[in-house]
Symmetry: C2
Subunit: 303 residues, 2 copies
Amino acid sequence: MTDAATRADDYPSRVSGDPARSTRLDPVVHGSPGDGPLSPGALASFERDGFLVCEELLDPDEAASLLADVRRLTTDPGVAASERSIVEPNGGAVRSIFDVHRRDPSFVALAVDPRLLGIARQLMGSDVYVHQSRVNLKPGFRGQEFYWHSDFETWHVEDGMPRMRAVSCSVLLTENHAWNGPLMLIAGSHRWYVACVGETPDDHYQQSLRKQEYGVPDDASLTRLTEEGSIEVPTGAPGSVVFFDCNVMHGSNGNITPHPRSNAFFVYNSVENALVEPFGGRAPRPEFVASRDFSPVASGGGR
Amino acid sequence: MTDAATRADDYPSRVSGDPARSTRLDPVVHGSPGDGPLSPGALASFERDGFLVCEELLDPDEAASLLADVRRLTTDPGVAASERSIVEPNGGAVRSIFDVHRRDPSFVALAVDPRLLGIARQLMGSDVYVHQSRVNLKPGFRGQEFYWHSDFETWHVEDGMPRMRAVSCSVLLTENHAWNGPLMLIAGSHRWYVACVGETPDDHYQQSLRKQEYGVPDDASLTRLTEEGSIEVPTGAPGSVVFFDCNVMHGSNGNITPHPRSNAFFVYNSVENALVEPFGGRAPRPEFVASRDFSPVASGGGR
């Protein structure tokens, strides 16, 4: 793939034996207060921290209904056996199901819900499309950790996302405690790009969705980010929604408690930031992980 | 070992293919308000929850000095290579060093500190000796989980501790956050004895100190205990001390944050509860894990 080899790359990663940190070259907030529901204060908070928690943006009843849908999907043998389902590394339990915004009616509807979409459009300053969607059910007792990573690093290297102009949206479906393996974010880390060492093997996604081994940031960079910023653990009632920047460093500890942790997850990418050839020079990941249908999402109206 | 096979056992475990739960047959608090520094309210709290947090029982300066001693020990190649040191399952870093109350001067002194000893004697209603001691340094980034367990289950089956009349004492040497793999306790769980399934292999301790595979409580019992009680995460400044009953169910999640978690740990057993032949019928674990020197600890006076 000679194009990739000769093309300029503002965010190189996995090309050197040494980690490196560089300044982010893209805005964090691309829209304005007039463009959507977020106040100037909320926009400033997202810009500073790299994430924003919207408490109970959905009603508890809606969250309960969506949780029932997740449980139904994760216990459906047909769904569990499909390529788009990811099982725990120690076998058995379904941890994630991808591509729900195109295949599973409740999540088709949720992906175009104006309460989510209005905020995503405002933050991205444009129309958006869904780059990736999934539901996660982190099981109790044996829930595995997910190591620190920037989503953008992977999406850039493996999917060909050119710029930092995408936002993730996590809809909490269970009570998130500090001790059952919740999402941890390093506030302020989105302002830096941490280039990881090493190369990406072919078909890396089949392993990386289970357990990350490439695109892993180094200890020194992580320590520096947590010293300059802070580790934040958004906790909240079901129906709360966490929006977080594509480049904020995040991860989660394992979960030995009996309390599973479940959420629905959508990545909204700006239509002006459509994928190109992957910057890592290898074949793109499949559609169910990184969509190449760049049509803008149309708002689905009220539910 | 026919004695063990024919001896009555109030707390059998690892002898059946089915888990079982029975009522605790021993008191939780063995002493009285007049016997030591704890108030009637503090004693009632320990009796109800199975643990008690004494905020900053040691000065921050003392905790900092002890932390420096732990770091020195865990990086000493001679100590790291010794049998009493436990390394992380994924290799390398020292997680625990045992028998510090007999071998390492700062911890020899700490084990007999009247601030710890007064409380331990009051809770046990007698003189006490140190059944086990260790320092723990849960590393950052790759700190492993420690699954739910009752210490007494192991001490009874593998060490021959007859009754529930021992108390663990964890001296916090680093700031304990909710998200860096802290000790989690199930409040109220100490009132039940959960018999685990399966048998204990020979020399089990060499594996179990790294990763528990036997003496593991079942999912249904854990769920029931957390429904009847609650998961509690004592957080606190360095120098705070957590006393917890020998039979309270506890564990900890892994730790991917850069923040290590360190503590010094002593188990005070009543001199009236000296070890006998292990109830599991196998050879006792070695002295550095389960002491058979039952001489009462003499208070070391002020530091």
